[in-house]
Amino acid sequence: MVHVSARRPRQWLLKAVVAMLFAQWLAGPVIIARADEPQPDPAGIATGDKTSTSDAGGNAFVITAPTDKTAPDYATTKKAFDDFTAQAAKEPLAMKLADNVGHLRIAANFSWTLLTGYLVLFMQAGFALLTCGLVRKKNAGHLMMLNFAAYVFAFLAYYVCGFAFQYGGCAINAAPTQLGGTPTLDHFAIGSGLWGILGGKGFFLSGPGYDAGSLCLTLFEVVFMETAGYIIVGAICERITFGAFLLCELFVGGILYPMFGCWVWGGGWLSQLGNTMGLGHGYVDFAGSTVVHGIGGFCAMALAVILGPRIGKYGPDGKPRAFPAHNLVYVVTGTFILLFGWMGFNPGSTLAASDLRISVIAVNTNLAAVAGAASAMFLWYYLFGKPDVTMACNGMLAGLVAITAPCAFVSPNSAVIIGLLAGILVDLGVLFNERVIKVDDPCGAISVHGYCGWLGAVCVGIFADGTYGAGWNGVGATTYLGKAGLGVTGLLHGDSKQFITQIGGATLMAIYAFGFTYVVFSLVNAVVPMRVSKEVEMEGLDVPEFGLPAYPEDELVDAGSPVAA
């Protein structure tokens, strides 16, 4: 009997794999673009021509014919178009050169986007070290396996449907012109026009997704999704079963992250609120304080609530107890690797080496990181008499998370203020989670990524100074608030509507990520318990789950140690 029941899941798995291969075979031919639709360019030969060329101000080299004859500036644009056409006919060589320049511009942007994507990929190593160092020795091996498997399984989910859900409709409102515009990704599965809810092209990265520009975007975006996938590890470690964790990763990579990502970055309804409801530039999140970190943080919070605190975290009197980090060397090394990776995360989010704002973004990102570390460290010093290394590291990450949304839109001074605020918030958030709502979060992931992610998006609405982002989300390409070239603007610089949009969008993110996760995984937990047994948790998860402790040589020494127990 035992033998038979052990075989059943294997048969089921085999069937699932066969079905998936069949679906893949079926999907390939079916979703190849029709002749009247934009054709994908897998070879990358047709991506980038003279239409991709523009001056430093973003004015296109090729002037297109105005279509709206009733527009007030119809006469001037028509004349510009006629002049351009006449000149182009006289100088065919210039047109050929412009094609080359356009292709090179896209090529430079491809290099930048891919290389910064690789930096973001390296952040996974930072997360692995950081979270592993913060837990107890007996669970270190389990932590490493979670971090490892997160990358693998969330990536597969993103390949199957995540990317299509997030970016399947991006060409409609949010075409990444820096990468050639990905014209093949032009369909929302749910919603349409300015009210897109879920993208609908590019499943299995085949058909319309099998395109050089689209796949450049895929590489960059999948490592962002992975970041959200890693964040949850910090809050649910030391007690979740491996199977339940894999389900969490498929959920994050397949639907939770892509859906909100579609709303903000894929041309979905939140980003278009400026066009539809007149709310500033719509909801703006430059590199993902909310889209990546907030989603990860609040998803982690819901999972931590469902799982409950680790055994012994709260004494019989309800007072929290400390489970000290087992390796501070990992914690600090991991934090610095994350800082380094963030140099890809934020500046890379321009998707363009030709966008020289990247230097401002890089400096802002670093400034917020050090300001966050300083304020978290000193507040802790003041509160408890000693600065705590792990909280200082959390402070640095908090500053990074909070600057991620506003990094392109604010001045260095504002970046310092945002970092300082985040450092304070992360300290208070950790204490609030531990003492007031009693949600056990071993690595501070909820406070760092959830609370500070929310703060970051709100800071766009406060500190954005209008020097960057003219025409963001299709709002104010020529003038905004009566000023030519004014970009995304916050409360302090006179756009209160942007502030309201940011608060609303960030709060919606928190409710969405927490609520969606809580509903789905409460059901899962009711069917199959997501937590390991008491005996396994006491022993440490390394051996019962994977058969190998992270540090086999000091098993004997450690079994009796109070810190390990």
Partner: protein, 112 residues
């Protein structure tokens, strides 16, 4: 023959070793141990929550010596391991029935 067990602070091991080897002992065994005496543990803070370390790391030195060497060794351990603060440790001296050298089978004083 006597057996001397000394529990000392880990940081004092080098000094103790130097002072007793100068007295001509021929062997010594060191163990890393954890425990508490009057010093008890101490309280620390981690991420805003207090925790107590009940068992502090110590070094246990075991030496087997002839009777006449006991007093000088006890004195030299006491002198070299003393910092004057709580937690310096303790020395236990016990009588020993026999010693056997495994290689040769010698017994008693010859085996020390």
């Amino acid at each position: 023959m006597k057996r001397i067990d000394a529990v000392i602070k880990p940081s004092k091991l080098d000094e103790v070793k130097a002072s007793i080897t100068a007295l001509g002992i021929t062997g010594l065994t060191v163990s890393e141990v954890k425990g508490f005496g009057r010093q008890k543990g101490h309280t620390e803070m981690y991420r805003g929550t207090e925790y107590t370390v009940d068992f502090l790391p110590k070094i246990l030195i075991t030496i087997i010596v002839a009777d006449e060497l006991v007093e000088p060794i006890v004195k030299s351990i006491s002198d070299s391991a003393r910092s004057g603060k709580i937690g310096d440790g303790k020395i236990f001296v016990t009588a020993l029935d026999d010693v056997i050298r495994i290689r040769t089978g010698e017994r008693g004083k010859d085996a020390i």
